[in-house]
Amino acid sequence: MSELMLGEHQLGTATLVSRTSLTSPTTDTLKAALYLASATKDASTTVYNTTGEVSGTGYTAGGVTVTAATAPTSTNASATAGVAFFTPTASLVYTTVTLSTAFDCVLIYNFTQSLKAISVHTFGSQTITAGTFTLTMPSNTTTTALLRLATT
């Protein structure tokens, strides 16, 4: 929460108000790393590291780049209630990998801003053998977006 208030994550498309320049706004690069089922990744995770990260043929430590072509959006249901939301615009795809040890977690983190963690998402334990692992994002709506900041 504090990192959001400090404006430490520039998600989606570049805006005119940027940390680095008002005339040449930039966005941050987000990445997504997979973690073993035995690893402990949760809301207390503050930064990406390789402890517990999967390893195997075709997988590069640090994971894949997240496509975040759309900036966060917000809607107000009333004068006091609203939702700001954000979802990556493409699936996360790990192509032709062999990950023999079970994994069940993806960490989305800010590669540009000191590898700071953004969110952790868990799913049923998986292994991949000479195959592709695809993580498809939910719809980018007020109720289903991957990341939501709601006031009530």
Binding site: T80, F123, T129
Partner: protein, 62 residues
């Protein structure tokens, strides 16, 4: 159809195909496996996330 396997690309007609689905509140997952003479030679999975990360706050009144 050619399938990438631990033995190289193989025609799927030579392989035993197994598929499965998991659908719950957290995810929709489909997976496909190809087996050759009792050995797993290919496994892919596709997970669609359903659960979102939500931070909530309330508006103070005075």
């Amino acid at each position: 159809m050619l399938v990438t396997t631990t033995k190289g690309d193989m025609d799927d007609s030579l392989l035993e195909k197994r598929e499965g689905t998991v659908d719950n509140d957290n995810e929709l997952t489909t997976w496909v496996e190809y087996w050759l003479e009792g050995e797993l030679v290919h496994r892919s999975a596709h997970v669609t996330l359903k659960k979102t990360v939500t931070l909530t706050s309330s508006v103070a009144s005075f």
